[in-house]
Symmetry: C2
Subunit: 396 residues, 2 copies
């Protein structure tokens, strides 16, 4: 009754990770987490490991292609010049894949965080054919994998981002309402076996992409494309919930007497701050794009500005609930919201802070996302590389 | 950018826990988590450790008073009779302390989960004197500690449950609105030094108490006393959020045009389903108690039944948001809601499932809490003992 887990696996001595492997991970982490290159002596000082141990482990990480050595620099004191260590470029790579409503694509990142290659195919995938699209995405990914392997890079795996409810345990997609997909097992359709592919919700992977930038360790992420998605990041880790379905902020109640939502309930956030609702309230034509809305807002047009106020108040109300329930002090606005940030940030911040019980003690900060249009692809590739660094012994 | 933590401590080789200490923990966990007594051979089979290693570690846990041996039972096959191992009674104990609106108290639990002693003082602590009450509670706790130590039990520490915003890092109480307390450091006021005392929100500790019973590993907990409190438990662990302020469901928006709440916002859940709002809507006299409301409901009185419907719809709406945001498939209703369960459960379940996006794939279960009136005290004592089992080497 007092212990943390009743699962039988927790009783099995975790001897897979020997002390040596754990130390390998510590050394790799020290170099990867450092904003500046480290010497072996720096790594020893940071990890508390003996210099000789560090040297052996660094040699293994360099030989295995996870780290690389820069030109030696003269030491401040007498002695051998220090050899700066940095993550190795173009050795081990991770792939981020995505199908969204108006594009599909793939990005390849290396351990330095650089984009090795990226391909995006634009389209209109509302009510689309899952088999055809995933087959097409699989072919695109296969060509990137082939090109990486031709250049002697090792592909660690892939993440597939989908705009819907994905079971974190099985990778099954329950439903992606805007794609019109339901109850499919996406991984076999990609045909990438034996490369491991893990499926996740696109908003959650987009949130991970923010970790490459200057973001606090804990934040809530909310993004609007066609639907509204959300994610919880605590201590640089995604909080997925029990089945991977956390963050569905698009269906938080704004007004119990509000308009009927596609989900069957009334007054959901999507009906006030979703892209379609926003464009409609702003009086934009059916084929208008976000850039057109931004232009109308810059021109000071009345209906678009009023629509933004309604959306901001609703978004702030839902985010206030979100903060009251999960207690995270920073909110990052992504997707369409990042583009519309100048007309959202202050209003949203006021509405959130009005509702959050703890706001008088710690006001909630609202900021725009930094990871750009294909954040979910970037975040997916980053997750693959995070797995590599969590168990570097598998790769060296 | 790809690793899980940027905190410098994570770079330090975690050598405090030697392999031997980790194995000690595995052995202790195996016995504590087992519904039936285990033999040394059972423990070896469950942990994957060698028989001889298990025997040495068990001897240490028995000598240290964490485990105890029952009378040997004849083995099914030839050989020495097996000695069943169980948690030791009345050796190491944890203390749960609480100040709430109408009582303060302390409970002492031993490693078997049995109550060694419990004391509760009833009172009216609305807008009370924090120094006086915490001093009184400290004296009560000190007398329990003295009595335990006289009986040769070791007191591992205490948890203090308070109905307010508690910083998980520092243990400071930001505000407990119904007590009228603000910005205090409660631990020194108890005067229990050198016993370690950790402060936490009462709803969160009440949720922990459910883990002693037959509850799924992940659940949302919501409780009404004077205020409404909540907690998130995932995989038998409290999810506290960034500062320990998660679960403030009492201030989720039910209706943006609803009544003004004490927190300054409009239409908060507390204004529909808080105890005061409920009693008022039910037309109960000012000095009425929950038992009176339950009696009126059993008698089929119209106003109380209508009040319950309003409360259930509001509670279901807020819990629907909670589930959409954190994805946990079971909701446990505690405090006043556990007492009013027959008039809440079905209505709340319908309202939640109407709002949860994933409900068609996995309906949300609603159930009553099992841990009784002083759940936060029980949960607090359990948390102390969970810490003991997380590091048994400190105790043997």
């Amino acid at each position: 009754m007092f212990t943390d887990s009743h699962s039988p696996t927790s009783h099995v001595a975790a001897r897979q990770h020997s002390l040596r492997e754990r130390n390998l991970e510590l050394v790799a982490r020290a170099v990867f987490d450092s904003p500046a290159p480290l010497s072996r002596a720096d790594v020893a000082a940071m990890t508390g490991l003996a210099r000789a141990t560090v040297s052996t482990l660094v040699d293994r990480l360099v030989a295995g292609g996870l780290l690389t050595e820069l030109e030696p620099v003269a030491a401040a004191r007498a002695g051998r010049p220090a050899v700066p260590l940095v993550p190795a470029p173009r050795t081990v790579v991770g792939i981020g894949l995505e199908v969204n409503i108006d594009y599909l694509g793939a990005t390849v990142l290396d351990l330095t965080g650089a984009v090795v290659e990226e391909k995006v195919v634009r389209g209109q995938f509302h009510n689309s054919d899952a088999v055809a699209l995933l087959t097409e995405l699989g072919r695109l990914a296969a060509s990137l994998i082939e090109s990486c392997e031709r250049d002697e890079m090792r592909v660690a795996g892939a993440r597939l981002a989908l705009p819907g409810l994905v079971d974190s345990g099985t990778g099954l997609l329950r439903v992606a309402p805007n794609l019109g997909w339901q109850g499919i097992d996406p991984v076999p359709l990609l045909g990438l076996d034996p490369k491991p592919v893990v499926v996740a919700n696109n908003a959650k992977l987009a949130a991970v992409a923010e970790l490459a930038g200057d973001v606090p360790p804990s934040f809530l992420y909310v993004t609007a494309n066609v639907g509204i998605g959300g994610a919880v990041v605590v201590d640089r880790q995604l909080f997925l919930g029990e089945r991977g379905w956390s963050g569905e902020i698009g269906h938080v109640v704004i007004d119990p007497n509000g308009p009927l939502c596609g989900c069957g309930a009334r007054g959901c956030l999507e009906q006030y701050a979703g892209k379609a609702a926003l464009m409609r309230a702003a009086g934009m034509p059916d084929d208008a794009r976000l850039a057109d809305l931004a232009q109308a807002l810059m021109a000071g047009e009345t209906a678009p500005l009023a629509a933004m106020q309604v959306a901001a108040a609703a978004l702030g109300s839902a985010l206030g609930d979100f903060v009251n329930l999960v207690d995270v002090g920073t909110v990052v606005l992504g997707g369409a919201y990042a583009i519309l940030l100048p007309w959202l940030r202050d209003e949203v911040a006021i509405a959130i802070n009005d509702r959050v019980l703890a706001a008088p003690y710690a006001p909630i900060e609202v900021r725009g996302a930094a990871a750009g249009s294909y954040a979910a692809m970037t975040g997916g590739a980053m997750e693959v590389l995070r797995d590599v660094l969590a168990d570097p012994a598998r790769w060296v």
